[in-house]
C-alpha cells in the first residue's frame, strides 16, 4: 500500500499546477466567465496539447491509457483552478463510454478527434423530474433500418460546446445508448448557464433519426457501461471537489494572517484557529476517502459502487462545510465576486449535486454496506 505519487504522477500534477497557475489564475478565470465574454476554446486546445484529452483513453485509439488514479490527480487540479470547461463530462465520462462500446468504426472516427480537442462530447441522460435516476423515458423506435429518438433530456453538462451527444433511451424495453450528431435534424437544444457559469443544455429529441451505427450499446451491456462510467465520474468529481476545498483553505490561511482586526491578525483568535483546524481535518478525511475510493474501485462491481458513493457522500458535504468556514473567515468579502473563496463555495454547492447528491449516495452506501433485512 503506497500512497506516494510516482515520478510520472508528480510530473502530471506539477505540470497541471504550472499550466493553471500561468494560464488560469483567479483573475484570468474571472475574465473568462464574465457575462459579456464569448466562449473560447483556447484552454480546450491547450488541454489537447498537454495530452490531457488523451490521458484516460486506451492506447489503441491514440490515448495514453492512464488509469483512474491519474484522472483523479488531474481532476484535483481542475478543481483547484475552478476550471469551467467540460473536461469531466467530455474527456472523463463520455470517452469512457465510447471507448468501451460502439462499433470500432465509430470509435476510430471519433476518439482521435476528441483527443485532438476537435470533438467535444456530452452525455444526455438526465430527464426532467427524474433527479438521478438513469432509466429514461426517452424512447428509440426502429425506423427502416435506422432509429428514431423521441424525448426530453435536461442538465446536459457541456451541451453548448458538444459536437456529439451520447443519449440514453429505451429500445424495445431495454436501456440503450446512442451517439447523435449535435447538429442533426430533430435535435432541439436550449442552452443556459449553471451557477458556476459552465455551459449546460436541455435537449429535446423530436423524432431524431440516427443510423444503425449510432447504437453504441443496449440491454445489460448498456446498463453496466453507464453504471461504470458514472461511478468513474463520481470519483472524478470527488477529486475535483477536493481541489476546490484546498484552494479555499489555502487562501483562508493566508487571509487570517494578514487581515488585522482589533490590533491583531485574525489568526490570533482561538475561535478562528479552531475553525481552521476543523476545516483541516475535513480536508484530510476527504482525501483519505477519495484514496479509498481509488483503492477499492476495481475489486468488483459492488466494491466500485460503494467506493464511488462513499467518496461522493463524504466529500460533498465536507466541502460545503470547509468552504463555508472559509467564507465566514473572510467576513463580508467572502461572499463577493472579487474574492476566490466565494467562487469556491459556489463551485462546491454545484459539484455536490453532480452525479448524485449527498442524499442519493448516502442511501447507496447504506444499501451496499448494511446487513440486508427482509421485510417482516
Amino acid at each position: 500500500m503506497d500512497f506516494n505519487l510516482s515520478e510520472e504522477q508528480r510530473l502530471l500534477r506539477d505540470g497541471a499546477q504550472r499550466y493553471f497557475r500561468e494560464q488560469h489564475s483567479f483573475l484570468q478565470y474571472r475574465e473568462l466567465i464574465r457575462e459579456d465574454q464569448q466562449p473560447d476554446d483556447k484552454h480546450w486546445l491547450s488541454f489537447a496539447e498537454l495530452g490531457w484529452h488523451a490521458l484516460p483513453v486506451q492506447e489503441q485509439f491514440g490515448g495514453l491509457g492512464f488509469g483512474l488514479v491519474d484522472v483523479a490527480i488531474l481532476m484535483e487540479e481542475v478543481g483547484r483552478s475552478l476550471v469551467v470547461d467540460p473536461y469531466l463530462s467530455s474527456t472523463v465520462l463520455c470517452t469512457r463510454l465510447l471507448e468501451r462500446a460502439g462499433s470500432l468504426l465509430l470509435r476510430e472516427q471519433v476518439l482521435p478527434s476528441v483527443i485532438e480537442g476537435k470533438t467535444v462530447l456530452a452525455l444526455a441522460f438526465a430527464e426532467p423530474g427524474k433527479r438521478y435516476e438513469t432509466t429514461p423515458e426517452t424512447i428509440a423506435r426502429h425506423a427502416n433500418g435506422s432509429y428514431e429518438l423521441h424525448g426530453k433530456k435536461t442538465l446536459v453538462l457541456g451541451g453548448p460546446q458538444a459536437d456529439m451527444l451520447l443519449v440514453t433511451a429505451m429500445l424495445d424495453g431495454e436501456l440503450a445508448l446512442f451517439s447523435v450528431d449535435a447538429s442533426a435534424a430533430g435535435v432541439a437544444r436550449h442552452d443556459y448557464l449553471l451557477i458556476d457559469r459552465s455551459g449546460c443544455s436541455d435537449v429535446e429529441f423530436q423524432n431524431t433519426v440516427v443510423d444503425k451505427e449510432a447504437l453504441v450499446a443496449v440491454g445489460s451491456v448498456a446498463t453496466e457501461l453507464l453504471d461504470e462510467a458514472l461511478d468513474r465520474a463520481t470519483i472524478a468529481v470527488s477529486a475535483q471537489i477536493l481541489g476546490v476545498m484546498e484552494a479555499a483553505l489555502e487562501a483562508t490561511g493566508d487571509h487570517v494572517k494578514s487581515r488585522i482586526a482589533f490590533n491583531a491578525p485574525l489568526g490570533k483568535l482561538q475561535a478562528v484557529q479552531h475553525l481552521l483546524a476543523e476545516a483541516f481535518i475535513e480536508v484530510q478525511e476527504s482525501r483519505s476517502i477519495l484514496y479509498r475510493g481509488l483503492a477499492e474501485f476495481d475489486a468488483s462491481a459492488r466494491s466500485r459502487r460503494l467506493a464511488a458513493s462513499a467518496a461522493k457522500a463524504y466529500i460533498g458535504p465536507s466541502a460545503k462545510q470547509v468552504c463555508g468556514i472559509c467564507v465566514q473567515l473572510h467576513g463580508g468579502y467572502g461572499i463577493t465576486d472579487e474574492y476566490l473563496v466565494g467562487h469556491c463555495y459556489r463551485k462546491v454547492v454545484l459539484l455536490e449535486k453532480l452525479f448524485g447528491d449527498t442524499f442519493h449516495h448516502t442511501e447507496r452506501v447504506a444499501s451496499l454496506a448494511f446487513p440486508v433485512v427482509s421485510p417482516s
Binding site: 500512497f3 484557529q273 484530510q284 483519505s288 446487513p371
Partner: protein, 400 residues
Amino acid sequence: MNFEFDNNLQTFREEVRDFVSTNLPPDIAWRVQHNGYLGLHEERLAWAKILSKRGWSVPHWPVEHGGTNWSAMYHHVFNEECMKAHAPKPSVQGPYLVAPAIIAVGTEEQKDLFLPAIRGGDHLWCQGFSEPNAGSDLASLRTTATLEGDHYVVNGQKVWTSGAHHADWGFFLVRTSKEERKQQGLTFLLIDMRSPGVTVRPVITIDGEHHTNECFLENVHVPVDNLLGKPGHGWTYAKTLLGHERAASAEIYWSRKWLEAIKQIASQEMLGELPVIANPVHRHKLARLELELRALEYSVLRVLSNEKTNVAHAAINSSLKVRGSELMQRITDVGIEVLGPRALRYFEPGLALHELPDADTWPDYILGKTAAQLALRAATVFGGAREIQKNIIAKTAFGL
C-alpha cells in the same frame, strides 16, 4: 500511488484468525464483547501472556527486544483480527508508552529489569502525569522529587492514574528543580506501586466503574536507579512518549467493532413494523458514521504506510485524535439511540452470563452500550484535550 494489497497478507490474516480463535479464552471474549470501553485489566494481562508465548505481545518493539518487524499493513491486519474476535485491547501504559521510552533512553539494567515483564504480560503499568492543577497544562505539575543520597524522595498527588489500582509499576513526571521555564525542571521516574507512601484512591466515573484513581505520594523513596534518562529531561521524554503511537489515538479498530455491532443491533431492533436500520433517519445517521469511519481507516493507513507529505506530522496526529475521539462519541451515541429506552438499565460491571436478566426483555447486546457512551464523553478530554489538539493544528498546519 499503488493500492495493491500484498497477497501474503491474506495468509497472515488467516494465521492470526486461527491463533485467536484457538487461544482466546471464550469467557474473556464474552466479557470483552459485553464490556463498555475501559477496564478489564486482568483480561488484558491474561491475553498479553498468551500472545507473548507466540511472540506477538509487543509486535511494535524493536526486534532485539521482542518485536516482530511487521510492515504497517501486518500490524493493521493483526489489530483488526484481534478486535473482531473480541480480544482485549492491549494495555497501553506498559507496552506502548513507557517501554519505548525505556528502550530509547533506559540503562541496560532498566531494560533487563522492566522489558521482559512488560513483554510477558507479567506487569501492569500506570501513568502518573496529570495532577489536580495540571491537566492540559501539564508542565505546571507540582509533585516534587528531592535527591537524598541514592534515592529521590517524592511528594505530591497525581490524578487520572488509570489502572493504578492493579498496576505493579508507574511512570511519573515529577519536578526536581525550579527553572526559568517550567518544562525544564521535570524528571521521569519509574516507581514501584507497592512502595511505602504510595496511596491509590478510586475515582468512580459516571459509567459506575472504577477505571481511574487519584494517587498520593507521601515521602516515597525511589532509588536513583529508577531515574529514566537524565534529570531535568523528563518533559522531552514525556512529549516523545505521548506522540509515539501516531495512529493509535484514532481508535479505528474499536470503532469498527462497535459500529458493526450497532449495525447488527439496528437490524434486529424494531421501530414499528420495520427494523431500525430501515428507518431513513437512523439509516442515514448510521451511513454517515460508516463514511466517517471508512475515511478515518484510510487516514490511519496513510500514516502507517509513511505517506510523504508536506503537512506537519503533528497536525496529522492531532487530526486523527480529534476525529477519532469525536467519532467514538458519535458511534456510541447512535449505539444507544438504536436501543431506545432499554439503554437506560444499569448493569453492574463484571456481570457473569448466568447473572443476566431475562434475554427476551434484555438482550445481552445491551450490555456495555450505555457504559461506553457515558465513559467516552471523556474521549475528547483524555489523551490530549480536543481544544489543545486544535491549537496544535492551527500552529503546525497554518503557522498561527
